[in-house]
């Protein structure tokens, strides 16, 4: 049918009702993956028989912001505050549905402390879609409008509440709330799309761990001393990884004007802990140090932050050259 002004497009108002012995019956949601609006899974992403799905999901957790996906797991329970559908009752007693109820789910987070809350709160009211993951390894999303594609469900509000004190009877006060959009009701029903994975999503798709870069000793015009520890546990990555991380390919060093500075040496510090970086640094300037991108680190040999480990990402450290 051609498009005609003021004529509604209509579809046949029926659906077959046969039920098979196995069917999609969503179990407990144990996690979610926050995905950019334009993120989607298609046949290329899946690969033949879905063989590429796991590696593509893992790679996406390490991509630059804008393309990165953010897995959140360890949901321990849910409070379903979804609104009921609204009905209008007419004078003679007949009913018509006025609107569907809107989904609002609040999950308890069993793992993750203040650091996770701090990072998740950056998503409050942000513009990310959500893929929900169930206990039985289903990923639940919605259709994109193009065949064989799945995208995240649209979310009006993602809210991570401020932490609450434990009173001795409760172990955690971490909660994450998804208030899904009006469109999400259809997205999760008529237009639902899902993938049954052949791997455990929670144990295979990890979020990045923040790494803190700091100076262990004042820099000079030829030396820089940089410590690298995980943000929350203070694991010394240089002591842990030694020559795996003490290499030029694992760091990005920039001059004050933003140009890349190629160091003449990167080594495990002999005098001071952390990395000892040798090079030519311009006096009375401020340089910057950071770890390479999570993707580049995972591509090193040996790898840093590739599965089964979490990827890592450091802050950008300003180093004053005297």
């Amino acid at each position: 049918m051609s498009n005609v002004l003021s004529t509604l497009a209509s579809t046949n108002a029926f659906g077959n009702t046969g039920v098979q012995t196995t069917y999609f019956d969503p179990k407990e949601i144990i996690g979610a993956i926050l995905v950019p609006k334009d993120w989607k899974i298609d046949s290329t992403y899946l690969g033949t028989l879905g063989v590429s799905l796991k590696t593509n999901l893992q790679a996406d957790t390490r991509k630059a912001i804008g393309d990165r996906i953010f897995p959140i797991f360890s949901f321990g329970g849910v409070t379903d505050s979804s609104a009921e559908s609204k009905y209008q009752t007419f004078g003679y007693g007949s009913e018509r549905k006025a609107s569907d109820g809107k989904y609002t789910w609040e999950f308890d987070l069993m793992q993750g402390g203040i650091s996770l809350i701090k990072n998740l709160r950056k998503f409050n009211s942000s513009d990310y879609d959500v893929i929900f993951c169930t206990r039985d390894s289903y990923m639940i999303g919605t259709k994109t409008g193009t065949a064989s594609q799945m995208k995240g469900v649209s979310c009006d509000l993602l809210d991570v509440k401020p932490w609450k004190l434990s009173d001795g009877s409760n172990a955690t006060g971490l909660k994450i709330k998804f208030s899904l959009s009006l469109a999400a009701t259809a997205e999760l029903n008529e237009n639902v799309e899902y993938i049954k994975t052949d791997f455990d999503i929670e144990s295979n798709v990890h979020g990045l761990i923040d790494v803190r870069a700091y100076e262990t000793h004042a820099a000079s015009t030829t030396k820089m001393y940089i410590g690298l520890t995980t943000n929350e546990n203070d694991v010394d990555l240089v002591a842990l990884l030694t020559t795996t991380i003490a290499k030029a390919g694992a760091i990005i060093l920039k001059n004050a004007d933003g140009s890349v500075n190629t160091p003449s040496g990167v080594a495990v510090g002999a005098t001071y802990s952390g990395l000892e970086i040798t090079g030519t640094f311009v006096t009375a300037t401020s340089m910057t140090f950071q770890l390479e991108t999570p993707t580049a680190l995972a591509a090193l040999s040996p790898t840093i932050g590739a599965e089964p480990e979490n990827g890592i990402e450091s802050n950008v450290l300003t180093v004053a050259i005297p």
């Binding site: 020559t243 290499k247 390919g249 190629t262 040496g265 080594a267």
Partner: protein, 57 residues
């Protein structure tokens, strides 16, 4: 190993930087914790020109 660098056992050194040391002693003085074998490894191979006598033969 990063392209353009050589492993030292403690990390990496830029090959062109190591080659900038004229002698093994100078390198050892600047990098006492690195084996001079690192310096030796990156020295350009000497090209031996055949002598005129050799060419005549």
């Amino acid at each position: 190993m990063t392209a353009g660098y050589i492993e030292t056992g403690r990390g990496e050194l830029l090959i062109s930087y190591v080659q900038s040391f004229a002698t093994a002693e100078a390198f050892a003085k600047a990098h006492p914790d690195v084996s001079v074998e690192v310096w030796k490894k990156v020295q350009p191979k000497k090209v031996v020109k055949p002598s005129e006598d050799t060419e005549k033969k």
